[in-house]
């Protein structure tokens, strides 16, 4: 067998169980898999141990709901040239670039051999973020526009280089890495499980619940302890609250960039209501502190459940009014429709995930294809899919998901009230002391509001954390933004950007 088949709910994998195949076989296998649209790569990373390097790869099979795990390896003194898969399947580019940048492995024929995030432990210490090798084009009618790393608004840093013909964007290249703060190294530098949880919450603040859930699930698989069903439901409530807050926030941001102040102000207020609901539940507007391994410090109470249900119903009602107003405003539709189109086939080739992929007709949604926890049990999720792939489609996905999340939250809390209303804490309390299965690999895969969020945790022979490899959905989707603005007027860049709202810190780690 060349690979191992698992799913999103089964336990940890022993490292020796994972097949180790020659690179040529791996190359063929990946080529066959990725040629079929039901597969896409979820993670591909290298991990050095002693004098060898082992490369692990996780591929998702959407049709069967399975996760395919395989690996290949090489010795320290082996030839370090590997034929690049990116040339055949562009979705491999961030992973190959990361491995090349970090360990000096060369991928032959890699069409875009550029640094990814300038990590502190990069192989080539001479490379510097200050001289990122931007693509250039010569021509008398062309000019370049540089934006960043510091942007005009209060957002994270990243350098954008546009090549324009007049007002029209021919090419956009995005150089990231400014936010790199050594997250992955920090996970293994400590044995304090609480500190590791806090790190997971600090990967991307707007997806704190998604990342914390992914990490907690990976850890729980490594301890082999079952979770109470109610804990799964509370995590789902938190995740859907986070989704609502961010989809509303981005509707507000799109409104702001089109001068639609009514929508902006209304959405900002609705986002405040949503995150204040989270705060009234757990004490933090971003849900930090809510997700903990094996239990929770902030169990629902009947009063809190009623408060959340009431607020969510009101938010969904008011947000729907904003949606109706947008859809009945020709001036807004003129800006959103046919703008920043990413066709389905392009989205598939670059391996797009999450709500951006769903707006291009690609039904990538872990909640539906690889359900975990409450999804697939008390929630039967049907992905929201739009087909036009433009800014409007991404906005439509957002607005339909807000209504969907509101229904899910109501359903989950209804179950809680019916079943547990009087029980003290059916979820149990967090445990930071559990020991992990040694020499194993476990992953947590969660559909955050941006898309699939994946944490792969590996342990050493003593059961310590040997590595935590994190993938934020933005890693796949930044390329989609670069493609979306091609051919558009540069003045449409802000709304294209906001329609994706990708994470810099989740990408840079």
């Amino acid at each position: 067998m060349n690979y191992l088949v698992t799913d999103n709910t089964s336990g940890a994998l022993r490292l020796e169980e994972i097949p180790e195949i020659p690179y040529a076989t791996f190359y063929e296998l990946m080529h066959t898999w990725l040629a079929d649209e039901r597969h896409h790569v979820a993670h591909y990373f290298a991990l050095p141990s002693d004098d060898r390097m082992r490369f692990y790869c996780l591929v998702l099979d959407d049709a069967e709901g399975k996760i395919l795990v395989t690996s290949h390896a090489m010795g320290y003194y082996d030839e370090t040239h590997l034929p690049s898969l990116t040339a055949l399947h562009p979705q491999m580019h961030p992973f190959e670039r990361e491995i090349a940048e970090r360990y000096g492995i060369r991928f032959d024929g890699q069409p875009w051999p550029k640094p990814l995030r300038f990590p502190f432990d990069r192989y080539d210490r001479q490379s510097s973020i200050d001289n990122y090798p931007f693509y250039t084009m010569a021509g008398k009618t062309l000019h370049e526009v540089n934006v960043g790393p510091i942007h005009a608004g209060i957002i994270e840093p990243g350098a954008f280089r546009f090549i324009c013909n007049g007002e029209q964007v021919l090419h956009l290249e995005i150089a990231l890495g400014y936010q790199h703060r050594g997250v992955e190294a920090a996970f293994t530098a400590t044995e304090n499980r609480l500190r590791q949880m806090c790190l997971a919450e600090a990967i991307a603040g707007d997806s704190a619940v998604a990342h914390a859930t992914a990490f907690a699930e990976a850890i729980e698989k490594l301890t082999g302890r079952e979770r109470p069903a109610q804990l799964d439901r509370e995590r789902a409530v938190a995740l859907e609250l986070e989704r609502m807050a961010m989809q509303i926030a981005d509707t507000g941001a799109l409104s702001m960039d089109t001068g639609y102040q009514l929508g902006q102000v209304a959405c900002e207020a609705l986002r405040t209501m949503t995150i204040n609901t989270t705060q009234a539940w757990c004490g933090n507007r971003f849900g930090k502190g809510l997700i903990r391994p094996h239990g929770t410090d902030h169990p629902l109470t009947p009063a809190k459940s009623a408060m959340i249900r009431q607020n969510v119903r009101e938010i969904a009602r008011r947000y729907d009014e904003v949606r109706r107003d947008i859809e009945s405003s020709p001036t807004l539709l003129a800006r959103f429709e046919q703008c920043g189109v990413v066709p389905r086939e392009e989205m598939r080739r670059i391996g797009g995930v999450g709500q951006a992929a769903r707006a291009s007709g690609l039904a990538r949604d872990i909640r539906a294809t690889h359900p975990w926890g409450s999804y697939g049990k008390c929630l039967h999720h049907e992905s929201v899919v739009e087909t036009s792939g433009d800014v409007m489609a991404r906005l439509e996905v957002r607005s339909r998901e807000v209504a969907q999340s509101a229904r899910y939250i109501d359903r989950l809390l209804e179950i809680y009230e019916r079943k547990y209303g009087k029980l003290e804490n059916p979820c149990g309390t967090p445990d930071y002391t559990t020991s992990l299965t040694p020499s194993s690999l476990a992953f947590g895969m969660v559909e955050g509001w941006r898309g699939e969020t994946c944490h792969v945790v590996l342990t050493d022979a003593e059961g310590r954390l040997a590595a935590c490899r994190i993938k934020d959905p933005s890693l796949h989707n930044w390329m989609a933004l670069a493609l979306a603005v091609r051919g558009e007027g540069i003045s449409d860049f802000p709304i294209c950007n906001k329609s994706f709202n990708l994470s810099y810190c989740g990408h840079d780690l």
Binding site: F118, Q179, G182
Partner: protein, 254 residues
């Protein structure tokens, strides 16, 4: 076309907080902690051992808000020693001011520690440039929220500008990643004197979880002295508003 707008307006109503001083946050909110000394120190020592950033120490009993993530674990392990209140007034003009001791009932804000030109030049109006340097975007989103319809910081003549050339100072969020260190320095230099420097969020105050990271470069603070330290993970908009107004002398801390 006009009806849907009227519906949005009617549902939205008026949401601006009229009197920001009257705001009390939910009981669940973890703001300023209160420390109580006990003869028996076992609990406090266990709390110090689990504290993710080493913000809490048992002997002497202190909690450094500049390092605290407000996860609340110390209060669960040592409930007799630590209790988190919902008081959001936790900004300080000095880094030492963020270190709380047993018996402290507020985060001190000594007006003497504020440079006189800050109140002379910026009391009526203050425009700031924000620089995110390795933050997780939560502080940035809270800073954006200070200007929204609820908090409406603009009513005090305080806001954010797009260019450092138009700014009276810089707000830093994030632990200052090495890759952003130079851009931050350039941005700060571009602001004309006199100017102020605000460190916003626990990561900015101490590096937080990344204080020891090799990807972080905090030498910026060796040459520049911040005027205001605002802890929080992330800093609550009310903490930011209260901190700035107190710095400008438009509000007093009791």
């Amino acid at each position: 076309m006009i009806l849907p707008k009227i519906r949005v307006l009617r549902s939205h109503g008026r949401q601006a907080i009229e009197d920001l001083d009257a705001v009390t946050l939910t009981e669940e909110f973890r703001g300023r902690p209160e420390l109580t000394f006990t003869e028996e120190t076992d609990d406090a020592e266990r709390a110090a051992a689990i504290c993710p950033t080493g913000a809490f120490t048992a002997d002497p009993l202190t909690l450094d808000l500049g390092r605290c993530l407000f996860c609340g674990e110390c209060a669960r392990v040592a409930p007799r020693n630590v209790r988190f209140t919902n008081d959001y007034r936790i900004g300080s003009p000095t880094r030492e001011g963020l270190v709380l001791h047993a018996g402290d009932t507020c985060v001190a804000f000594d007006p003497q520690s504020v440079r006189p030109e800050i109140r002379r030049c910026f009391r009526q109006a203050l425009q700031l440039r924000e620089v995110s340097a390795g933050g997780d975007a939560s502080v940035e989103m809270e800073l954006n929220a200070t200007g929204n319809g609820n908090f409406d910081l603009g009513r005090f003549g305080i806001g954010f500008t797009a260019s450092p050339r138009h700014a009276d100072g810089v707000v830093v969020s994030g632990p200052i990643s090495a890759n952003m260190a130079e851009a931050l320095e350039i941005c700060y230099d571009a602001v004309a004197e006199p100017k102020i420097l605000v460190m916003c969020g626990t990561e900015a105050c101490s590096g937080g979880l990344f204080a020891e990271s090799r990807a972080v470069d905090r030498r910026f603070l060796e040459t520049h002295t911040p005027d205001l330290w605002l802890p929080g993970a992330p800093t609550h908009p009310m903490t930011y508003i209260d901190g700035l107004l107190t710095l400008l002398g438009r509000k007093k801390r009791n």
